[in-house]
């Protein structure tokens, strides 16, 4: 994580955003950040619901990982950038 931040700093400082791969990496990272934020809330609610009714475990799990699709979609950007 720390090296990544360093790398990101470098990229921004040297103005290397013309490199499509760097931009794609940034996009993926931001998407992951958003997904994490969303999962925080959903996870808290899912655990609350599970505490009341254990049968909700499967539903809770599915709903919790749902924002993960964001990252998968963002990953597509990397491949597009690579082939470009």
């Amino acid at each position: 994580m720390l090296e990544l931040t360093h790398e990101l700093g470098n990229v921004v400082l040297t103005g290397a955003f013309t490199d499509p791969l760097a931009a794609a990496a940034l996009a993926t990272g931001l998407a992951a950040l958003g997904a994490g934020y969303a999962e925080g809330g959903i996870g808290a609610a899912a655990v609350g619901a599970m505490a009341e009714d254990e049968d909700l475990f499967v539903n809770g799990l599915i709903l919790t990982v749902l924002p993960e699709t964001l990252v998968i979609l963002a990953l597509v950007v990397v491949f597009i950038a690579q082939s470009a």
Partner: protein, 348 residues
């Protein structure tokens, strides 16, 4: 857990919604009104009150058992909600639940005033507020009203009680003390409430509650014709009445009814107000006020799904359930018919 840290409405709301689904509905109430006290006890034991009925079953029986089990379950549920909440959410919920602290303080004061046994006082307490077990134990151990005031020294009730105590010593009646407790509670209820949308909605609900309380008090005073100063009983914070209008209107029922009829609550309370003009009973009006508050509470829960409002909505619904079951149990004990009991229930 405490007022520190970020608030966590997601967790609390998820748990509370699950519990709300388990509250009794029309169907169950219809069954309950046709039961005797022991059947009611068995029915609630099988549907969520098992631990309480078991714990109290050996010491109490009949309607008392039901009532104490209900109180204890209410306290347990609300304590749990406070336990889960953090940050601002805790503050907002605690504001409302402090009314049980006020209730407990008043119960203990009355108990000491009438020389009741500490054990007898204890079963009437609802340990749902912010006071911890230690403070409650110290309250129960207090053997004079002076000692109670001392125990509460470092709480919000400390200063007002100290002032009211002087008046109590002069007159020997409890009214100033009880008033002081109520005032301290209502003062804290609305002060420093922040400004985001869910909180504003919550605030409107609290104001409606204060308004209805003021209106009911005023109607009672006007009806009884007693020579009491209505301004003494006025609670700050509502929008319907001010101290001056209350003092003016409390002298005549008709003017008061007219004033309420012209307010924003006219839609909710209209039919009850017409009844009030025709008949002599205040019960209809108090019922309508309760139903309006409950309906508002239900609406409260859906507009801002991830905020304090669904939690408050649940708290109201749970309180109402406990009051309904209590009314059913007491009604059956008194030999009322099923229809009569049903008319006493507040169901939306």
């Amino acid at each position: 857990m405490s007022a520190a840290g970020r608030s966590n409405p997601e967790y609390v709301v998820a748990r509370v919604r699950a519990r709300r689904g388990r509250l009794y509905g029309d169907e169950q109430y219809r069954k309950l009104v046709r039961m005797g006290p022991s059947e009611i006890a068995r029915f609630i034991e099988e549907s969520g009150y098992e631990a309480e009925i078991n714990a109290l079953g050996s010491r109490h029986s009949g309607v008392d058992l039901i009532e104490y089990a209900l109180n204890r379950n209410l306290a347990k549920q609300f304590d749990a909600i406070l336990d889960w909440s953090e940050g601002r959410l805790y503050d907002l919920i605690a504001r409302y639940l402090r009314k049980f602290d006020a209730w407990n303080v008043k119960t203990v004061i009355r108990g000491v005033y009438t020389d009741t046994d500490a054990d007898d006082i204890e079963v009437d307490l609802i340990r749902a507020g912010e006071f911890d077990d230690r403070r409650i134990r110290r309250l129960l151990e207090a053997d004079s009203i002076d000692a109670i005031v001392e125990v509460l020294e470092d709480t919000i009730y400390g200063d007002p009680l100290r002032e009211a105590y002087a008046e109590y010593e002069e007159t020997g009646v409890l009214v100033p003390l009880e008033n002081a407790v109520d005032m301290a509670f209502y003062e804290r209820l609305l002060s420093g409430l922040g400004g985001d949308a869910p909180t504003r909605q919550y605030r409107r609900f609290l104001e409606a509650e204060v308004d209805f309380r003021n209106a009911t008090n005023a109607l009672r005073l006007a009806r009884s014709g007693a020579d009491l100063d209505p301004a003494e009983y006025f609670i700050e914070g509502g929008t319907l009445l001010t101290r001056d209008t209350l003092a003016r209107l409390a002298r005549s029922v008709d003017e008061l009814v007219e004033h309420i009829g012209e307010s924003e609550y006219a839609d909710d309370l209209g039919p009850a107000l017409r009844d009030l003009e025709e008949s002599d009973s205040l019960i209809e009006f108090e019922h309508a006020a309760d139903t309006a508050l409950l309906a508002y509470g239900d609406r409260l829960g859906v507009v801002h799904p991830v905020s304090v409002t669904p939690v408050i909505s649940y708290i109201l619904a749970k309180e109402r359930e406990v009051e309904n079951i209590r009314a059913i149990a007491r009604g059956t004990e008194a030999g009322l018919s099923a229809d009569e009991i049903e008319s006493e229930l507040v169901i939306t």
